[in-house]
């Protein structure tokens, strides 16, 4: 059983130490908002700020997004380049993002100090809303989670309820293969967690459909997209200075019209841009207001990268990016 309070205290202490010693400029972590059941990103700039840091299974966001944003900042003309380090709290899956960013030279190792939290699973906010359905809206405040073996004991203003962990677990956590940060300066928490190898059973159903069925399925999903670009903006690996879908000069690659034609182009290109890089943090799908199963695209490419090129992203910063290298023996039997 995990004591979230204890983990939180450790995170606070580490962050405070780093901020007091000036090792880091600020620490990216989570805080709890009084109104939302889900934790949200928080930036601790001073040792006092660290009091607000929070930890729980509702820490969902992949914070490395803000890390890469900070690393992209350039000094004014003529000023020396930035060298300050940034502290960050990561879940095991998020740590793989940092590895991937290091691989792509977006984050120098010396500029990031990592608090790696050993965690079991995150919750899916939609499922949480469902579980809280019978709690009157006015009482859905100060929601805290407590580990009770198979269940989460969820306390809220004026009550509590117990929900099986399996009912709240985010889909991405079901197929997770790392339960300890791949890279970290400080590990928070203990415990060995056994994990089963990923068999990609979640996309099997889709793969086994007939071609026409699959297209019908995707056509339906694509027709819903409103092109808010949240899936792109929430992705820590979509860090281009100028996104191909934004640029208008000299050529507009994708029209703003919202229709299957343009939407599927957007989603296919986005998926290709993440092929061999995506670490399946699941943010794209979580943020989608139209509930498009974006992860299914990413998952498929993760599977194919593994099968075809034996690439599994975010594990080793020494590797080259998948599309930055090749193997003489890459399969290519389709090529005539």
């Amino acid at each position: 059983m995990i004591d979230f309070k204890a983990l939180e205290a450790e995170i606070k202490a580490t962050a405070k130490k780093w901020l007091e010693s000036g090792e880091v400029k600020f620490v990216i972590g989570y805080e709890k908002s009084p109104e939302s059941p889900i934790a949200r990103p928080f930036f601790a700039h001073t040792p006092e700020d660290t009091e607000k840091l929070y930890w729980g299974p509702d820490c969902i966001n992949n914070l490395t997004l803000y890390l890469v944003e900070e690393m992209k900042k350039k000094p004014k003309k003529g000023q020396p380049p930035f060298t300050h380090a940034v502290g960050i709290v990561v879940k095991p899956c998020d740590s793989r993002t940092i590895v991937e960013l290091m691989k792509e030279h977006m984050v120098p190792r010396e500029r990031v100090k990592i608090i790696g939290v050993i965690s079991e699973e995150s919750i899916n906010p939609d499922k949480l809303y469902l579980a809280l359905k019978n709690v009157p809206a006015s009482q859905r405040r100060n929601i805290r989670f407590h580990d009770a073996g198979e269940n989460f004991r969820i306390t809220y203003q004026g009550g509590e309820l117990s929900v099986p962990k399996k009912e709240l677990e985010a889909d991405k956590c079901k197929v997770c293969v790392v339960h300890k940060a791949v890279i970290a300066d400080v590990f928070v928490g203990t415990g060995e967690i056994e994990f089963k190898p990923d068999d990609f059973s979640d996309i099997k159903e889709l793969e086994e459909m007939s071609e026409e069925e699959r297209w019908k399925y995707w056509e339906q999903q694509m027709s819903r997209c409103v092109r808010c670009y949240a899936c792109r903006d929430a992705c820590p690996l979509c860090y281009c200075e100028e996104c191909v879908f934004d640029r208008e000069k000299p050529y507009r690659w994708v029209e703003k019209s919202v229709q299957v034609r343009e939407n599927s182009f957007y989603h296919l290109v986005r998926a290709m841009h993440l092929a061999g890089r995506c670490i399946d943090c699941g943010e794209c799908q979580r943020v989608c207001p139209m509930e498009i199963p974006i992860r299914q695209l990413n998952r498929f490419l993760i599977k194919k990268a593994k099968d075809r090129f034996k690439v599994f992203s975010g594990m080793n910063a020494e590797e080259k990016p998948m599309f930055g290298t090749y193997d003489l023996d890459d399969p290519g039997e389709e090529i005539k």
């Binding site: 208008e248 000069k249 000299p250 507009r252």
Partner: protein, 309 residues
């Protein structure tokens, strides 16, 4: 006839003038609206703008540079920077374009009778300014105003637009013309001699102290410094200025140094627009829509807006 406010009227290009070369060339396109019934509705006032469509590429906003007329003749100066402007640069005489407008408010020329007017343009910002000084310099209009001064600068000699027109203006004795190009395009920088022959450099640190050689009206400096050199007198005067946001900022600072009040300074602001009629939302500066409440503002109004341009 039910009016679709977004529907461009077709117009035929009647004349194309290449005004400036350089990396970002400027062309002045003259067009005439095809439908004789629509023509009179294009009677505009100086400062207003129109939306010109290159069909199949898009629509862009341009300040109308032509003299007000009832023949549906619209003239715009177009700098080649984006997709639409590049396409417009490719058009030839006889090609069709779409026009809608005129939109926005205008310069209150009628209120300025008896006053001196100083026109200050920077870069392509000369285009809206030109629409005003052209009117003010018409023989019957010229009588109504006091002294007229025109100050204009661009990046390089090649970027200076309307060269022929300026040659002619230079010979007029009822107005003063001052030109400049950016000092960084001179060979030796701030204090060296400039590449443009006979365009002396200005002491950038203290432009006001520069001694102007007799008969010289072309310099190497930024427009705000040129303003300090020229020292226009604020007494009973009005300034009309336009240019990139950063230039406007320094021009107004220079003018304020010379004792100008902010309600004497008129400027036209440009923001990205799509509809031109206050609906599409993007041109707002604070609560003011440039397309509806502008594009002509006094500097006093600008100061009261949120600092966001």
């Amino acid at each position: 006839m039910s009016e679709n406010i977004y529907k461009p009227h077709t117009a035929t290009i009647t004349d194309i003038q290449l005004e400036a070369g350089g990396a970002r060339p400027i062309r002045t396109i003259t067009m005439q609206v095809d439908d004789p019934e629509v023509r009179p509705t294009f009677f505009h006032k100086p400062g207003q703008f129109a939306l010109i469509s290159s069909f199949g590429t898009g629509e862009s906003v341009f300040a109308i540079a032509s003299l007000p007329n009832k023949d549906g003749i619209v003239q715009v100066s177009v700098m080649k920077v984006g997709n639409v402007t590049s396409k417009i640069h490719e058009l030839e005489i006889g090609d069709k374009v779409g026009v809608r407008g005129p939109y926005g408010n205008h310069f209150p020329l009628e209120e300025w009778e008896g006053k001196n007017i100083v026109f200050i343009g920077a870069g392509i910002g000369i285009s809206p300014v030109r629409s005003v000084y052209q009117v003010a310099l018409l023989p019957e209009e010229r009588k109504k105003f006091g002294n007229i001064t025109l100050i204009y600068g661009a990046r390089t000699p090649a970027d200076l637009a309307f060269k022929d027109e300026f040659k002619e203006l230079d010979t007029r004795d009822d107005m003063n013309l001052w030109l400049c190009i950016d000092w960084k395009f001179g060979p030796k920088g701030p204090t060296g001699e400039s590449s443009a022959e006979g365009w002396p450099a200005i002491n950038m640190a203290a432009p006001g102290e520069t001694v102007i050689p007799e008969g010289v009206n072309k310099f190497t400096c930024f427009v705000p410094q040129l303003v300090e050199v020229v020292k226009p007198d604020p007494e009973n005067s009005i300034v009309v200025t336009c240019g990139p946001p950063i230039a406007i900022k320094f021009i107004t600072q220079a003018l304020e140094k010379l004792g100008w009040k902010s309600d004497q300074i008129y400027t036209t602001l440009e923001n990205r627009m799509k509809c031109g009629i206050g609906k599409c939302g993007r041109c707002n500066i604070g609560d003011s829509y440039v397309c509806k409440h502008g594009p002509v503002y006094t500097h006093e109004q600008v100061k009261s807006l949120q600092n966001e341009f």
